[in-house]
Assembly symmetry: C2
Homo-oligomer: 212 residues x 2
Amino acid sequence: MRKVRTYSTDIDLVQERRAQIVQTAVELIVKRGYNRTNTRELATALGMSTGGLYHWIGSKDDILYLIVNFTSDLTQGLLDNCARCGGGTVTQKLKESIKIYFSGVEEFRNFHNFINHVMLSLSANDRRIVYQNESRIVDYFEGLLDEGVKKGEFREIDCKCIAHNIVAIANAWANRGWYLKRYYTIDKYTSEETDNLLAQLTGVPTASVRSR
Amino acid sequence: MRKVRTYSTDIDLVQERRAQIVQTAVELIVKRGYNRTNTRELATALGMSTGGLYHWIGSKDDILYLIVNFTSDLTQGLLDNCARCGGGTVTQKLKESIKIYFSGVEEFRNFHNFINHVMLSLSANDRRIVYQNESRIVDYFEGLLDEGVKKGEFREIDCKCIAHNIVAIANAWANRGWYLKRYYTIDKYTSEETDNLLAQLTGVPTASVRSR
């Protein structure tokens, strides 16, 4: 992680303030676009002066970097929760992992839409961090699907392709929310998509899958 | 469609020049970001002077509007091709429609990534046009799936959800290309995803589906 300038020596306080900056910046930028959001507006939204904001960060681009790094923390938190969940069958672990992942996308949908929006504005290095995070999630699901195939719980499938689909469909909850929210809640969406996936993995129709 | 200013009275020529402007603008903006692309650079890329560019459009925002409108034409072209394709079973029509749709995403992936990127910069009206286009594609696939269920070719499924998945998975080819292109060509991706989908719709494993 590269160093972001601050004039404070209180590490805990720096972390706390930066977490606030990240949350508020994402909300503002998702509403107005990155280039139309200036640091003065961000400072105002945070109840700080512009000078006060620059006490915690060195530049506007530092905010992008902090947000990208925050998504790495989100990814790590997600994978930690997934590692702990389930028990018994791979199917059970897959179902619970999907629930954790999808509800994470709902909770941090602003972050997902933010990353989508700023992707072209990111430095090569920041972009690589985003790609790594996404790849780690696909890899996690691919591993789980592989295990399910080996244990005979799932049919022979292209695990990489299906793992990618899980991630694409989860992301769609954030970036196609304008469509989906007309018809689904996150709970309904998660359960429908889980049923669809299990039907695909096991060959057993949706309705019978639900009761497993 | 709102009027975009031009100083030319030659309608055909205006259309031709604007098509060039749209193509070149999309390429540039996807590389550099909307706010970092100025009309001078665009004019240079088109081999025009800035004044020459303003002969065909009234403002930089007009370019956004022209691109959004071009995506409506793309959507219409896609739906026309889908309407003509197939023959015999719904399954056949679905397979061919997916092929047409996915190869369209490949051909115009810059446009997909562009729309993703500028979504937050679009006016409410332009955004509505994008939403309408996307909805029309989901509706088309939903109708096809519904028909397949009614004719007994597919199991009872949530057609809206699966239709949305088809669109999300096609879009993923554009906006998750950085991941997918490591492992798939568009042909391989299309055929894998078609197999996955048909396995889901029919309950028959992937390998058997392929030979149908």
